[in-house]
């Protein structure tokens, strides 16, 4: 990969700014041989919880206009099996691509147990904390509850010195509030964004298409929301932000980077074309060359705006 693509962040060097997003690349191995995984910036594993989870009944995925809905139900093998069956492959097969482990829990203790249980292992760089999980105390998501979020991040910070990246939930009035809570409680970075709650109805059967009734919307449809939320998050704190949502081209990735993202992740697009992440990082390299930019790092947050319009919450209409 072209040297101008590398990004120094989270105490290490990502050879490119392009990662595969959690839940869309399994535990890496599933893509082995199909795409040159070790040439990517990295990947984020499927969520890992302390106990295995069985997940939701089908249908778990379906197409929506310009995107998809999923309600996998965070099915995963659980911490122990992850360490025994999944991590070794990542350790042995990825020399350059970085691995983040996506972490979920029902309680702060469950999150902490995953981090504590993994921290001594080798084969991964750090954690991406998925806070779009219902908190059994209270029922709201960790990611939409300011107090619960702060407590969770502070607790995980005590469990580990590895990079701790919090993946934010998009359906909040002001994502900047949550970005600052993460920073103040010791997070090293943010990932923006997770999926939007959505629903699809089979009108003839009068039933939800998705077994879980509702699910998360991802794909190109959410691109402009993701760019906006990344911009807001990046402006609200001083820790690095990973941009996610609907990226299918280098142009899309560069929108996130100009909005303030240091790295980006590709999710749904890998389903449409497994080569998406490779194409995106090649396209970024081509853009740098055609624009005469030496390093992608020069573009991070490089959006030019006139100051007047920046602060206010946007009126609709």
């Amino acid at each position: 990969m072209v040297s101008g693509l590398s990004q120094s962040v989270f105490g290490t060097e990502f050879q490119t700014p392009v990662l595969l997003a959690s839940g869309t690349c399994g535990y890496g191995r599933e893509y082995a041989g199909l795409i040159p995984l070790d040439e990517l910036g990295g990947l984020v594993t499927k969520a890992v919880s302390v106990e295995p989870r069985t997940g939701n009944p089908p249908h778990r995925v379906a197409e929506t206009p310009g995107g998809m809905i999923n309600a996998i139900g965070l099915e995963n093998v659980g911490l122990d099996a992850f360490i025994e069956e999944k991590l070794p492959w990542l350790r042995e097969n990825l020399a350059r691509a970085k691995v983040l482990v996506n972490v979920i829990g029902r309680t702060t203790d469950e999150y902490a147990a995953v981090v504590a249980g993994l921290d001594e292992e080798e084969g991964f760089l750090g954690y991406e904390i998925n806070v779009s999980c219902p908190n059994v105390r209270g029922g709201t998501l960790f990611g939409t509850d300011e107090a619960a979020l702060g407590e969770l991040v502070a607790r995980l910070r005590r469990e580990s010195e590895r990079p701790l990246i919090v993946k934010l939930t998009p359906n909040v009035p002001d994502i900047g509030v949550y970005a600052r809570i993460c920073e103040e409680n010791g997070a090293d970075g943010l990932s923006t964004i997770n999926t939007f709650p959505g629903m699809l109805i089979d009108i003839r059967r009068r039933r939800p298409v998705i077994g879980n009734v509702s699910g998360g919307i991802s794909g190109p449809a959410i691109l402009p929301m993701g760019v906006y939320l990344t911009w807001r998050a990046a402006r609200s704190c001083s820790i690095p932000v990973i941009g996610i949502g609907g990226i299918r081209s280098a142009d899309d990735a560069l929108q996130y980077i100009l909005a303030g993202a240091t790295l980006v992740q590709i999710g749904t697009s890998s389903f449409v074309d497994p080569a998406a992440a490779v194409t995106v990082q090649q396209g970024i390299a081509a853009f740098l060359e055609s624009e005469g930019v030496e390093a992608v790092s020069e573009l991070v947050g490089g959006l030019r705006t006139s100051d007047s319009a920046e602060g206010s919450a946007p009126a609709q209409g």
Partner: protein, 271 residues
């Protein structure tokens, strides 16, 4: 915007991803098309019961935005594959509208094939476009000397894929059933199944049909393999989108653990 690059693809058994030109696309029955694509690598490697994910790539946002799984129904020595496409929703309608020279993005071959033993009689029970995997299977297995019977059911005559073509592809005439009796035998294709003796029954079609077969297999004690359908995201085991319930209550991935399962490994309770 999208480069027409073909990324390095790995060694077998990793699937290949490539933009395949449409060779021909013919309407062969009501709402049914026979789609031939040029795909030498998939043609060389595909085994009976395997499928491909077919889509239009990242610039296409209308259905099919997500690629759709289709059983490979045929392959030729010169590198073509054939898919039997029934127009169901907007995604399959777009596949039905493909014209020669246009390209589709293919990923395959995917999934586990049917497993046959030489010593046993094989009976394929196809409902609707569940016929597709049995075209390749019956043709190739017969040419290898296996005794294969093919029962094929549709709602009515207008939907039946040309019996002459089936015979050409599979080297023997199928036994055709229609539910309204407008062609072949009158009734459900499962009625035609004689599963006595050492036999492997293979089923592909609507879930209700597979459930009926599984019920008989359990009662009569014959071996039954079925190819199942479920919505898919990735086709390669990363998304966990395509699950079906196992007999012992776990979720199995249709894309990598199937689409062909032993019927006895699955749960057949409705819903």
């Amino acid at each position: 915007m999208q480069a027409d690059l073909e990324p390095r693809v790995g060694e077998s058994p990793a699937p290949v991803r490539h933009r395949a030109p449409v060779v021909s696309n013919r309407r062969v029955a009501a709402d049914t098309w026979w789609l031939e694509l040029e795909s030498p690598e998939i043609a060389r490697r595909v085994a009976w019961g395997q499928f491909v994910m077919i889509g239009f790539g990242l610039e296409h946002l209308a259905p099919p935005f997500l690629p759709r799984p289709f059983s490979v129904g045929w392959r030729s020595p010169d590198g073509r594959i054939g898919l039997l496409v029934r127009r169901f929703g907007a995604g399959s309608a777009a596949l039905a509208a493909l014209r020669p020279g246009e390209r589709a993005l293919l990923l395959g071959p995917l999934g586990r094939p049917f497993r046959l033993e030489a010593a046993r009689r094989v009976v394929c029970v196809a409902g609707g476009v569940g016929l597709a995997p049995f075209l390749i299977l019956a043709g190739e297995a017969r040419r290898q000397g296996l005794a294969v019977e093919l029962l094929y059911g549709e709602l009515s005559a207008e939907r039946v894929f040309d019996p002459v073509l089936i015979e050409q592809l599979t080297d023997a005439p199928p036994q055709i059933w229609t539910e309204d009796g407008t062609l072949g035998r009158h009734g459900r294709v499962t009625d035609g199944l004689d599963a006595s003796g050492p036999v492997t029954v293979l089923g592909c079609g609507p879930t209700a049909m597979l459930r009926a077969l599984a019920g008989r297999a359990a009662r009569e004690g014959f071996e039954l393999q079925v190819s199942v359908e479920e919505h898919m995201g990735c086709g390669v085991g990363t998304c966990q989108g395509c699950v079906v319930r196992s007999a012992d209550g776990r979720w199995l991935k249709a894309c990598t653990e199937g689409p062909v399962f032993d019927a006895s490994d699955l749960s057949w309770s409705p819903g």
